[in-house]
C-alpha cells in the first residue's frame, strides 16, 4: 500500500478548476517531484494534501485512511505531514530555536527541556548549530529555508511537502537547501516536491509528474520523463525549462 494516495482529487476556486481529477501514489521513502508551468496547480495540490485547502471531490489516503473526508479535524493530519513554503514563512518574533519548538510543544504537549536536545540535534545535523538563537531577519535566505525545514521536521512528520523551496533564493544559496533534501531522502523520508530545479529532479527524484491545467498528464521515472517524454505538451515544457 502506498504511503500517500490521491484519487480523483478536485479543487476549485469559484469557477476555476485548479486540480482536475488528480491521481497520485507516493510510496514510503519515495521522492516525487511535481513539475509544470506556473499556474499549473502544483502549490494548490500540495496545500490540498496538507488540508490547507478543502478539496471539492476525490480521496486522499494517508496510510489507507481517507483524510479528505469532509468534517474531519485537520489538525491531527497536519501534525503528521510537514510542509515547507517558497517564502520560508518563519515566525519573525521567535528565534530559530523557538520557531522549531513551538509546534511540538503546543501540539504534542512536550516540554522545552524534553525537546531541546532533539531539536538542537536537528540544527547540528543541518549545519545551523550556531544560528539557533538568531531571529529570522538575521539569517540568510538559505539559512531561513533550512530553519523552516527543521521546524517541520521537529514534528517528526511521516510525509514532507516542499513547495518550490529554492525559488526565492539567490542562485548560490540553492545548493545548501537541495543538499538537505538529499539528506532527508537518504534517511528514508517520504517527500513530495513542487520544483523548477529540473537538474535536481532528474538525479534525485524517484518519480516525476508533469502537471498542466490541474491534471497530471505524464508521469514516470526521471530518465523516461526527461529523456523520452511521450506527450507533446511535456516536450514543449521541457524544451522551455531546460533551455
Amino acid at each position: 500500500m502506498a504511503k500517500l494516495s490521491l484519487r480523483g482529487v478536485v479543487k476549485q476556486f469559484g469557477a476555476n478548476t485548479v486540480c482536475d481529477g488528480i491521481d497520485l501514489d507516493v510510496d514510503e521513502g519515495e521522492m516525487v517531484c511535481l513539475i509544470g508551468a506556473s499556474g499549473a496547480g502544483k502549490s494548490t495540490l500540495l496545500r490540498c494534501i496538507n488540508l490547507l485547502e478543502a478539496v471539492e471531490d476525490g480521496e486522499i489516503f494517508l496510510d489507507g485512511e481517507d483524510i479528505a473526508e469532509p468534517g474531519l479535524n485537520p489538525q491531527a493530519v497536519r501534525a503528521r505531514i510537514g510542509m515547507v513554503f517558497q517564502s520560508f514563512n518563519l515566525f519573525p518574533h521567535m528565534t530559530a530555536l523557538e520557531n522549531a519548538m513551538l509546534a511540538p510543544r503546543r501540539v504534542h504537549g512536550r516540554s522545552k527541556a524534553d525537546l531541546v536536545d532533539e531539536v538542537e540535534d536537528l540544527f547540528k545535523r543541518f549545519g545551523l548549530a550556531d544560528r539557533m538563537q538568531n531571529y529570522p531577519d538575521q539569517l540568510s535566505g538559505g539559512q531561513q529555508q533550512r530553519v523552516a525545514i527543521i521546524r517541520a521536521l521537529a514534528m517528526r512528520p511521516e510525509v514532507m511537502l516542499f513547495d518550490e523551496i529554492t525559488s526565492a533564493l539567490d542562485p548560490q544559496l540553492v545548493g545548501e537547501v537541495l543538499d538537505v533534501l538529499l539528506m532527508l531522502k537518504q534517511q528514508g523520508m517520504t517527500m513530495v516536491l513542487a520544483t523548477h530545479e529540473m537538474g535536481f529532479a532528474r538525479h534525485a527524484a524517484d518519480k516525476v509528474c508533469f502537471l498542466k491545467d490541474g491534471k497530471i498528464i505524464e508521469e514516470g521515472p526521471p530518465e523516461a520523463l526527461f529523456d523520452a517524454p511521450e506527450r507533446e505538451e511535456t516536450k514543449a515544457f521541457l524544451a522551455r525549462a531546460l533551455k
Partner: protein, 269 residues
C-alpha cells in the same frame, strides 16, 4: 572633499540661511505687529499674566496628578478590553456568534457617540441609580465611560493589526498542526500587537487629553482646577498654565510615537 560633497555642503549652507532668514522674518512680524493690535494689552493681562501663572502653576501640577491617576488605571483596562473586543469580532466558531454581534454593536455605539455624551450619560446616569458609597463615585463611572469609548477605537486598531499579519504566517502555523486558537495566540497576535504600537501610542495621547472631560461630572482635575483659579483671579492665565502642562507631556509623547511610526515604515521597506 569630493566635488559632489563640496556642492552638497554649499547647498546645505544655502538652505540653512534661507530657513533662518524666513523664520526670523515671521517671528519679527509677530513680535512687532501683534502688540500693535488694539486688544493686545487686555489679552496679555488676562491670558499671559506672569504673576498669576507663578501663583497657580504648582497647584495646577498637583491637580494634574488626578489626570495621571485616572489615566493610569484606564489605559490598561482599555488595552485589555480593546483586545477582547477585537478577538470577539473575529471569532469564527458559530457558538461565538453572539460575541461577534456584541463586539460589532459595541464598537458601533461607542465610536458613534461623542465622548462627552458618554461621560455624561454613564457618569450621571449610573450613580443616579442611588448606589451606596463608594459606588456612586464619578471617578469610577467617568473612567468607565472613557474605557468603553477608547476600547472601541483600540479594538479596531488591534483588528487592523491582526489583518496586517500575512496569510502565509497562518498557513505555516496551521501546516504544523496548530489549532486556530494557538495560531492566533502564538503567531498572529504577537506580530499584530507589535505592528500597531505606534497607532496605540497615539490613542494613549488622545486619552491623556480626554481625561479632562471627567471634570464635567465632578473630579477636580487640572482643567477644572484651572477653572476654579480663573474665577478666583478673574484671569484666564491658569488655562494657559494647564495647556503648558499638557504640552510638556504630549509633545515628547507625540514625537516618540512619530519616531516609532517612521521606524516601522523603514523596517518594512
Amino acid at each position: 572633499m569630493t566635488r559632489r560633497a563640496r556642492y552638497e555642503a554649499q547647498q546645505r549652507k544655502r538652505s540653512l540661511m534661507i530657513a533662518a532668514t524666513s523664520t526670523l522674518a515671521v517671528v519679527a512680524c509677530i513680535v512687532i505687529f501683534v502688540p500693535m493690535t488694539p486688544g493686545w494689552e487686555k489679552v496679555q493681562r488676562s491670558f499671559f499674566n506672569g504673576a498669576v501663572l507663578a501663583d497657580t502653576f504648582p497647584k495646577l501640577l498637583d491637580a494634574f496628578k488626578i489626570n495621571l491617576m485616572i489615566f493610569s488605571w484606564s489605559a490598561p483596562a482599555i488595552a485589555i478590553l480593546g483586545l477582547l473586543i477585537a478577538l470577539a469580532r473575529d471569532a469564527k466558531s458559530p457558538a461565538l456568534f453572539p460575541l461577534r454581534i456584541f463586539g460589532a454593536t459595541f464598537t458601533d455605539v461607542f465610536r458613534g457617540v461623542p465622548v462627552i455624551l458618554t461621560v455624561y450619560l454613564i457618569g450621571f446616569g449610573i450613580p443616579g441609580l442611588g448606589l451606596p458609597r463608594p459606588w456612586n463615585s464619578p471617578y469610577i463611572w467617568g473612567s468607565l465611560a472613557l474605557i468603553l469609548t477608547y476600547s472601541a477605537y483600540v479594538a479596531e486598531i488591534f483588528r487592523s493589526g491582526i489583518d496586517s499579519v500575512h496569510q502565509s504566517q497562518r498557513s505555516a502555523a496551521l501546516s504544523l498542526g496548530l489549532s486556530e486558537r494557538q495560531v492566533m495566540r502564538d503567531v498572529v497576535l504577537p506580530q499584530a500587537i507589535r505592528n500597531v504600537v505606534p497607532s496605540q501610542m497615539n490613542m494613549l495621547i488622545a486619552l491623556q487629553k480626554d481625561v479632562s472631560l471627567l471634570s464635567f461630572i465632578g473630579p477636580v482635575e487640572i482643567f477644572r482646577q484651572a477653572g476654579v483659579f480663573k474665577s478666583l483671579t478673574a484671569n484666564f492665565t491658569p488655562y494657559v498654565g494647564a495647556a503648558i502642562i499638557f504640552l510638556i507631556v504630549t509633545i515628547p509623547a507625540t514625537r516618540y510615537a512619530d519616531y516609532l511610526m517612521a521606524k516601522q515604515m523603514r523596517d518594512r521597506s
